[in-house]
Symmetry: C2
Subunit: 323 residues, 2 copies
DNA sequence: AGAGAGTATGACAACGTTGTCCAGCCGGTG
DNA sequence: CACCGGCTGGACAACGTTGTCATACTCTCT
């Protein structure tokens, strides 16, 4: 900027005024400045500008599980899109389910003075964010609530969704329902499992631990688990798969062995209607989830100081037949 | 930092030294500073720090088409991961195929003084990046080369891939091969089409414009196009679909009508092996594409001033049967 | 002609941090 | 005892920008 000022023969401040479109600069002088800007290829340093003016950095931070996962990349996309409408950019990072890493990323984002944080929490303690929130960096949790902190959260009705899925299976006469899940360490999974168990209880069906498989982290494991459960003396006649990776593995195994076991899966996914058998899924609107959370964050950034809210979005049982 | 210094009863610079782990500070004094830091919840302002020290911002920019698309989100993920190993964060934005928007995003990223740019170009003129590159912001193009600019690029062998796909169809005796593509405006598509036409020419098969359908942007359009082409007097006996959205639509239509037309699709995708019919696809390693580009960018950031390189990664014809 | 109001421009400090340099202190040396 | 060198700690300027205020000029109205 100093160079531009020198080349145009004006003061620093005049350049600043021209660059920022402030009034009170004569046309001729502005033209000289703009010519100098063009000649030197000057570009305003956004960081210095924000620093001096005490302005927001026009950047928000997003912490998700894993950017390559369609669920999270959809969130990132919606958020980035809404951010762009406010001339804000998105700093995104994946926690990979590692609480330590999540904390480090969050601190890193804060030290970059992002205007706000959107977090799909992996950690089990977010109290360290208190300070940042008091210092004016709002935080909105997404998909799972934060722990040890009173902050906004936008969640899915995981419990209700699983409940309705199991109810549908029970209505069709199933009483032995195998439940496959990723990990009870994840809040989402605990809620889904709880919803399923509530529905079973509602139907007067007692809990049978042998029908629940934890630690099913990929399609291959899901296929194996299905095979094992079907080989037992009293095999399940239906399955509830608590995420789409598990659903895919289970479908593949059921189809491979020509089993007529029923299946309901949590999460819809792009090609679910092209699976070898029609699939009933517990679906939800990922984009809406992201939209609501991002909107809430921007409201906070714009000064909304009302009490933290928790928004729970409904799920939708998409019935394409059970087998 | 001023507050911390006052509370600890030391000078500003001493706080800076402690916070940055510089030597030559006595243990007792450092402890006092750290206590003050903890009490005030002080966090270093990364932007001010980078500004003063003239240091890199530890941020890189990524411009892609659309973050929600698995191809691009995989790239974003790999890049973010490699960046994290260098304590660098990723600013990502989607151009949505809009050149104007791409340019604005690029300028915005530059004004934030990112250390480097990774770009899947949508625009048709990137000469405006010259200035930035001279000012020391390296740019690496990904998936498509930049235009009017001499910069690094990491590409796929689109031409060779389409060539091998068509050759396979020709080997099976097909002479009328329908080609469905998104848009010839996209460099990738042009290359794939050219590769297909070269393979036809190599086989002595003349060009027949009625066998090429442009503007097929989604599965539904693809299905319609397939239906129309099959209804013509001399219908194609095989199809080459130039991206996975088109492939999905075409497969669906072929399967629906029980057609025995052969099919080769460009792009593999997650559930391709679960499609209603086995699918032969021209696959490639998206992660490797991102890895190479990101590595190249970091090499440049680290001072590699050698001539711009263009790296072309091979494709792989994954044969799961043609019908 | 002079007051008053408004416009155009510039000098300077400040944002939060770090590089540079200098001063004081210590122990050891000639 | 004067001096040297290394270790500590602090004062100050600077990074690139903008807010504040002062100044100079122009115009209008009495």
């Amino acid at each position: 900027m100093v160079d531009v000022a020198r080349l145009a023969g004006v003061s620093l401040k005049t350049v600043s005024r021209v660059v920022n479109g402030e009034p009170h600069v004569q046309r001729a002088m502005a033209d000289r400045v703009l010519a100098a800007v063009a000649e030197l290829g000057f570009q305003r340093n956004h960081m210095a500008s924000a620093l001096r003016a005490g302005r927001p950095s026009a950047t928000i931070g997003l912490i998700i599980e894993e950017l390559a996962n369609p669920f999270y990349s959809t969130i990132a996309h919606v958020t980035a899109e809404m951010a762009r409408e406010r001339d804000t950019l998105l700093l995104s990072a994946s926690s990979e389910e590692d609480p330590g890493r999540e904390e480090q990323l969050l601190r890193d984002l804060c030290s970059r003075r992002v205007d706000g944080l959107l977090v799909v929490p992996a950690g089990c303690d977010h109290s360290f964010l208190h300070g940042q929130m008091e210092l004016g960096i709002p935080v909105v949790f997404l998909d799972r609530p934060g722990t040890n902190i009173d902050a906004d959260a936008v969640l899915l009705d995981n419990r209700g969704g699983a409940h309705s899925g199991v109810r549908r299976l029970v209505e069709q006469g199933h009483r032995r329902i195998g439940v496959l899940l990723d990990s009870v360490d994840v809040h989402t999974m605990r809620e889904r499992l709880a919803g399923a168990q509530e529905a079973l209880a509602d139907a007067g069906i007692g809990y049978d631990g042998s029908l629940v498989r934890d630690g099913v982290r990929d399609p291959a494991t899901a296929a194996t688990a299905v095979a094992e459960m079907l080989a037992e003396p009293h095999p399940p006649t239906a399955f509830l798969t608590l995420n789409n990776r598990i659903t895919v593995g289970a479908v593949q195994e059921l189809w491979r062995r020509g089993s007529d076991a029923a299946l309901v899966g949590f999460d819809d996914f792009e090609l679910s209607h092209l699976m070898p058998r029609p699939l009933t899924v517990i679906a939800y609107d990922t984009r809406e989830l992201a939209r609501r959370a991002t909107q809430l964050l921007f409201d906070r950034i714009d000064g909304d100081r009302s009490r933290p809210r928790t928004i729970v979005l409904p799920t939708d049982l998409v019935d394409r037949g059970l087998r």
